[in-house]
Every structure is written in C-alpha cells, then in structure tokens.
C-alpha cells in the first residue's frame, strides 16, 4: 500500500516557521482535507511536499520513496501530482494542448522515437485519444480548441484538474480547487473530485469552503499558524471546541469577505 507520509516537517522563512513540526499520513484511497485560516501554512505545506520549497527539517515520503531532496519533476514522476491555487494551466495554449502537456510523462519522445519514424506519431495519437477522454471526463470536450485563457473561471479550474489527471497521479494534491468559484461551479467540482476518488486516486485537499470540506472529506486536519491543531472526521472536527474557537468562527468572516 502506498501512502503519503509527512514526518516532523518544518519550513522556515528567515526566522519564522511557516510550518512547524507537522506530521500526517494518508490512508488508502481517502480524501484528506487540510484546513486552516489564511496564512496557516497550507500552500507552504503543499510546496514543501512537492519540492517547490526545500523543507528546513523533516521528511516526506510516498510509499517507500523519499521525496525530500528530490527535484520537482522527479516527484511528479513518482506519481505525486498537485494543482495550484493560482493558474493551474497554460493560458496561451489550447485546451487540448494543455491536457497533452499534462500527459508529458506518457508521451514525451525518447531517443528511439527519433530514429523509428512511426513511433512519434503513434505516441501523439494515443496521447490525443486519451486527452479527449479526459476532457470528456471533466466535461470540457466541447471547448477543446479554445485558448485556455478564454475559458470562464470555473472551467479553468476544471482544466487544471484535467492536466493533473493526465499525469497519471497515484495521489492528487488539490490546492483550493473551489477558490473564487460560484456555488454552481463549486458543486460541479465536488462531483468531479468524488468521481476521481471513486476511480481509486487518494486526494489531499486544501480548501476554504467549509461546505465543500465537510461534504467531501473522510478525514480533516486543522492547521493553525503552521502547527497541527486537530485531526479527525468531519463530525469530530465540527465538535472540537478549539477549532470552533480558533478557526470556524473566523472562517465565517473569511467566507463573507471572499463571497
């Protein structure tokens, strides 16, 4: 069984610890949410797990592979794939090109492909077929020839996930997939995440929308000022006094502001 294991992870910027002595382990095929107020260190945590930031201390591993010290692309190669809170796609390429880039590890030409003439075309074609399937899966097939930048916001979010799926994730880390979406788009996203999980991909989710988190998660970890504050099922978290006090009250304000 391959799980993502984070042990005593600490990330410091200058003297400040954005994430401090943080540990968790995913369970097979679960949806694990990490929540916390703005600036709690959620994105930093993702960046540290996927190699975008060098952690100051601690270890990250997936199955028996150690991710700490690996290059970002090597971590993707292992199957740990993420999306971004910001633009998680290529704005000046068409939608289908975006997904083909997501399939990079599957369709990149090897040296042999340059020598054997048919190979490259074969890879491209099977890649294209798969891209169309994936676009169908997330519901973007009709927009395949549009520039990604021209898509409405919610569909750009879907495209970001589609690119990540194209990379054949063994585990998927989603950074606020619903940020900035309207309730409709958000609902759509929740359905998609369920579908992906049902296909056997475990998911680690960072999200602000409490309804999304509570509806989707098997387990929730609450992060506050870079440290773990609570861990449990959605029911347990909603009853946790500390969490209600420190986070849920505030998040109501946050949601109001964001909305």
């Amino acid at each position: 069984m391959t799980t993502l294991r984070v042990e005593n992870l600490t990330v410091r910027f200058g003297g400040l610890a954005a994430v401090h002595d943080f540990s968790f382990e995913t369970k097979e095929n679960e949806i694990l949410s990490i929540i916390g107020p703005n600036g709690a260190g959620k994105t930093t945590l993702f960046n540290a797990i996927t190699g975008y930031i060098q952690p100051s201390e601690g270890n990250v591993s997936f199955g028996n592979r150690v991710l700490t010290d690996e290059a970002i692309h090597a971590i993707s190669e292992i199957g740990v794939i993420r999306t971004f809170q910001k633009k998680s796609f290529f704005p000046h390429l068409t939608v289908v090109e975006n997904v083909l880039l997501g399939e990079h590890m599957g369709i990149r030409p090897s040296l042999i492909d340059f020598i054997k003439p048919g190979n490259m075309k074969k890879k491209e074609l099977s890649g294209l077929r798969r891209a169309l399937e994936l676009l169908e899966f997330v519901g973007l097939s009709e927009k395949k020839d549009m520039m990604a930048a021209e898509l409405p916001y919610g569909e750009q979010r879907l495209l970001g996930i589609c690119i990540a799926l194209a990379a054949n994730p063994k585990i998927l880390l989603l950074d606020e997939p619903c940020a900035g979406s309207n309730p409709n788009e958000c609902e759509n996203m929740v359905g998609l995440i369920r579908k992906i999980n049902a296909d056997g991909v475990p998911i680690v989710l960072v999200e602000h929308h409490m309804r999304v988190v509570m509806g989707l998660s098997d387990r929730i970890i609450v992060l506050n000022s870079g440290e773990k504050m609570a861990e449990g099922t959605p029911a347990e978290i909603t009853c946790n006094e500390d969490v209600i006090c420190a986070y849920l009250g505030k998040s109501g304000e946050n949601d109001a502001r964001n909305g």
């Binding site: 960046n47 190699g51 975008y52 930031i53 060098q54 970002i72 971004f84």
Partner: protein, 291 residues
C-alpha cells in the same frame, strides 16, 4: 608593495565610478524588471549635457552638472511616459527591445548633430596630485569618488526616509498590495525610471571631467555595468556597490599583473565564477519560479 598599493587605489577609484552606474542600473532592473540598455545612453547624454552647460554656455561646474542631471531625469520621465508605459504589461523581451531601440537611436542622433569627434570637459580646478608615500592620487579623481559616494548616500536616505522612497519599496515588494494601499504604481514606475536615468547621467557627468566624451561611450559601459549588477545580486544596492569595487580592483590588478588585454574580461569571468559557485546567493532556491 607600492605598485600593489597604487594598483588597489586605482581600482577603488574606478570601482567608485562603476558603483554609480551599477546602483542606478540595479534600481531599474530590480524594481522594474527592465533590462535597460538605454542606461548607458543616459550616461553618455549626462556627459554631453555637462559639456553643453559647462563648456558651451560656460556655467560653473557646481551649477552645470546638477542641471545636466536634471535634464536627464526629465528626459527619463518622457521616455517612460511615451515609450515604456505602453508596453509595461508586455513580455520582458519586448520591453528590453524597446530600450535597445533607444540604444541604437540616441548615439546616432548625437553623431548626426555633433559628429563623433570626442569632446572634453575641463575639470573645475587644476591641482597637482596628492602624494602619500609613493602612492599618487589625483584630486579630481578623489573628488569624483567623493561625489559618487555623496550621491549614493543621498539616494539611500531618499529610499529610507521619504514617503516616495517608501512607496517605491512597497511597490517593489508587492505591486498588488501597494495598489491596494492607494499607491499610484504608474507614477512610481515613472519616478523610478527617472531616478535611474539621473544616476546614469551623474556618472557620465563625473567621468566627462577625466575621460573623453563621445557617442559610443554609453554602449561600451552598459554590458560591464550589467555584469557588476548581477555579480552584486538582485536589486541589492550594497551588493551592487561591493560588486563595483570588486570589479574595479580586480581589473586594476589584472591590468597590472596579468595582461591588459584581458582586463575587460575580468567582470565577466568573475560573474561566471560566482554563478558556478554560489548561484543561490543571487537568485535563491529554484522554487522561486513559482511567483
């Protein structure tokens, strides 16, 4: 030993003048992410403006040189308003190429107007060199270094103490936050570019008193000044000054002890060495690409 000491002192003097160029360049590069190839042209224009005010109209240096710097700053404002502002949101290459256009245009305008014949600006005074032991220092060189230091200190105080300086630093750190705070970032960019131009012109004005003034002098200086800036680090003023002194002294040493032919390569070789040994000192970790 005396030759060595003299070499070092010459290097520090040359480095002092590089520093003025480098601080202006790093300011524009770091704060605006603009590879400003026109920087050297403003340096050249600073020298020509000085020639105009001090020789043609025969104003005293103490008035003519500040006037030359002021005119260059006004020109900077015009360039920013009419040429750079329309392309601010464009690719970095496009912005840079615009300054390349200026780099081609300005010296040729000067050549057509004034010919390429070198001009000279007389120093404000003639004094025999100071002699300390066996080391000679020309008073005019000393004056130039002191004025350079004065301008850099003035600049530093401006950035730290004034409202405008603080607004500039805020814009540099996070443009969106600065805008939310009510800072007019367009204005900030205009002033930043203008001040950068002023510092380039100041360098040209200073050196016009010891070197020839000619249309191509800007282009020659620009690439080396760029190397000094990268050597020092991203938008790092102390780094730029240190880089300038290191390059000045190393060039002087290389010129005396190794070969005068390779003297001009010193800045670039140092840059390559720094990049190989300590790239993180310049750009930080690779994760920095995620903006």
């Amino acid at each position: 030993m005396n030759i060595f000491l003299q070499t070092i002192i010459n290097g520090v003097i040359v480095g002092g003048t590089y520093a003025l160029m480098a601080v202006g360049l790093t300011f524009v590069l770091g704060f605006m992410d603009l590879v400003n190839f026109a920087h050297g042209e403003l340096y050249m224009l600073g020298a020509y403006f000085t020639y105009f005010f001090v020789v043609t109209i025969a104003l005293p240096h103490i008035i003519g040189i500040p006037l030359a710097i002021l005119v260059a700053m006004l020109l900077g404002l015009l360039i920013e308003r009419f040429l750079l502002r329309p392309v601010w949101d464009k690719d970095i290459l496009i912005r840079m190429l615009l300054t390349v256009g200026l780099m081609i245009l300005i010296p040729n305008v000067i050549t057509v107007m004034l010919t390429a014949v070198p001009k000279k600006v007389p120093p404000p005074f003639t004094m025999s060199p100071f002699i300390l032991g066996n080391v000679r220092v020309a008073p005019i060189q000393l004056l130039i270094v002191l004025v350079s230091v004065f301008i850099i200190v003035l600049f530093h105080l401006f950035m730290q103490r004034t409202r405008l300086g603080k607004a500039m630093r805020a814009t540099f750190q996070d443009k969106e936050v600065a805008m939310a705070m009510g800072i007019d970032t367009k204005k900030i960019y205009a002033y930043t570019f203008s001040i950068g131009c002023g510092m380039a012109a100041a360098g040209g004005a200073m050196l016009s008193m010891i070197y020839n003034v000619f249309p191509a002098m800007g282009a020659i200086t620009t690439t080396k000044a760029f190397a000094v800036v990268i050597l020092g680090g991203l938008g790092n003023f102390a780094g730029a000054i240190l880089g300038a002194l290191i390059v000045g002294v190393s060039e002087s040493i290389a010129g005396t002890y190794i070969s005068s032919g390779y003297k001009d390569a010193v800045a670039f070789i140092l840059l390559v060495l720094i990049l190989m040994v300590k790239p993180s000192g310049i750009m930080g970790k690779k994760g920095g690409i995620e903006k």
